[in-house]
Amino acid sequence: MISLRRRYIRDNIMLSLIILNTIVILIPLFIIIVYVIAKGFDALSIDLFTKELGSPTRAMMGEPTGLVHTMLGTIVVDLIAVLIAIPFGVGAGVMLSEYPDHWANPVLRVLNDTLNGMPAVLKGLLAFTLVVKPMGTFSGLSGGVALAFVMFPIIARATESALMNIPWSIREAGLAIGLPRWRVILSTIIPAAKVGLVTGFLIAFARAAGEAAPLVFTSFGNNYLPIKWTGWFTGPVDTLPQRLYNLAISPYEHWHDMGWAAAIVLLAVIIASFIIARFVIRDKK
């Protein structure tokens, strides 16, 4: 039997170890973010948002270069991904929560979680075989498909748990006044679960927007703006995470600075969607 005194001593030792550990781990992690932001601010400039990247010589000659084609490309690819992912993600989520007796649900749940846990590179390889190979070229469309593979398992999971939080009595009330089931789902359940759904979309977006691995061999990257507007969909397109990777491993000093600038823009997009998801929407509840 250990004396009470020694138990209290052990209690205090554990508490101080845990506090020390928390401080020692969390502060360096936080410093990484602060450092990237500080370093990126120095590299920001107007040219970054108005000029294309061009060839490396352009940077070495000191001519203005920027990443406007990358920003636009990111918007296009992410938009394609969101448009593809939301129907499938929400559909699968509705199937899991509103039709709980369907025989395929256990399979769907396991495979959806499996897909969610799969490395993003493999999603890129899948988009490569499904879209790039038949099209015969790297394209913005294939990049969007690859990112949709990242998004929809997250959306499905978030939709399921958001809809599950709505009590069954609300569905029964809807059915009792004679509404058909689809009307109950579309006009009462989904509006009631709106907050959870949008949070899920934003979390999925934040996750996919930072992925570079699936884009390296689907949207490929491009140093210039496309010549025609269809080039955004059918030709190689630049995206922020993938451009950031290419800039960081390039041998040019000027491109490294631009990489920091790209990092802060990317981080800003992700932190913004994170803050909207966590604070702005949640408070409206």
Binding site: L26, I32, F88, G91, V94, N112, G117, P180, E211, L267
Partner: protein, 329 residues
């Protein structure tokens, strides 16, 4: 009579079939189609990786390709994925081992000790760090972390071993900064927030009565945590650790930027290495020969198998300890 007819008519005004039962059928089948496409996507991933890599797998054999130690895309065109399997498993298991206790300790502090406002701040901070993209961690690693760790850790240790313990030098390897240890540390940094968030969730699911019962028996705060909270939530914690391992195995960009990319065994502690994900992303764009492309796809297939096992084990642990609910991270 007429009035009676009118009421009858009003009651029998049934909604159109398209609105009623037909609408229900159409909607349900639409939803099922969407759900089945999600199912088929996962299956399509396995099938397409296997068939794209079938040229390599049939040439070298299923186990031959897995255990082949040569990866030569220049001269002999011989491919084997063993070095990458080793690189993936060593870095991610080491990262899991390094991150597990600190991550759980942060979760314990957040969920059990911290006052509510502080716990709220820490939890959001952890989630924020988890959301930082891996390329951003990668660029920080290339320009800040690697030069620092090379000059202040790797070089002194290497020089010390040259003088005092020459037998250790070949194990330590080239202290260039880009290598297995750097990649492991970066992976550790990246999965700590993930493990913490999942562990926090499972601590929050422990019923209050569980803690109160232990306190009523005279347990100190730490004893309550050790005897009542941790045993109750161990399933969630372990499943979270497995999911973090899956994250580490699949982590691509930061590792590809920092591991040094060497294709031949043996890997050393400081020296360069390679993982399955990093070799795919590094070589895919430059793969010209069909057999090279097929081999990279086959590496993807083996990566799929490893991730599948890790995910299924995580799901099994979660099911076995039956703490309900999941989290879409």
């Amino acid at each position: 009579m007429t009035g009676n007819n009118l009421t009858n008519k009003k009651i029998s005004l049934s909604p159109s079939a398209l609105y009623g039962w037909l609408g229900d059928r159409i909607f349900a089948y639409g939803i099922f189609i969407l759900g089945f496409i999600v199912i088929f996507t996962t299956i399509a991933m396995a099938v397409s990786l296997y068939f794209s890599g079938t040229e390599a797998i049939s040439k070298f054999g299923f186990f031959g390709f897995m255990t082949g130690r040569v990866w030569d895309a220049a001269i002999s065109m011989e491919f084997g994925t063993w070095p990458f399997i080793v690189g993936t498993l060593v870095t991610s298991l080491a990262a899991l081992a390094l991150s597990f206790l600190p991550a759980v300790a942060i979760a314990i502090f957040t969920a059990e000790y911290a006052p509510k406002w502080l716990g709220y701040i820490i939890e959001n901070l952890v989630n924020l760090i988890a959301a930082v993209p891996s390329v951003v961690i990668g660029i920080w690693g290339i320009f800040i972390f690697t030069p620092w760790v090379r000059d202040s850790v790797y070089m002194p240790v290497y020089l010390w071993s040259l003088e005092n313990a020459p037998t250790l030098t070949p194990i330590l390897g080239n202290p260039a900064g880009y290598g297995m240890l750097t990649a492991t540390i970066i992976l550790t940094i990246m999965i700590i927030p993930f493990t913490t968030a999942l562990a926090c969730d499972s601590f929050r699911m422990v019923p209050k009565e569980q803690r109160e019962a232990a306190s009523a028996l005279g347990a100190t705060k730490w004893e309550v945590i050790r005897m009542a909270v941790i045993p109750y939530s161990r399933g969630g914690i372990l499943a979270g650790a497995m999911l973090s391992l899956g994250r580490a195995i699949g982590e691509t960009m930061a590792v590809a930027m920092l591991i040094g990319n060497k294709n031949t065994l043996p890997f050393t502690i400081f020296g360069p290495g390679s993982t399955m994900a990093s070799v795919i992303v590094n070589e895919f764009r430059e793969a010209v020969e069909n057999i090279h492309l097929a081999s990279l796809m086959a590496v993807g297939f083996y990566l799929f198998l490893i991730s599948l096992v890790v995910n299924l084990v995580a799901a099994w642990i979660q099911r076995k300890y039956a703490i309900t609910g999941g989290r879409a991270v």
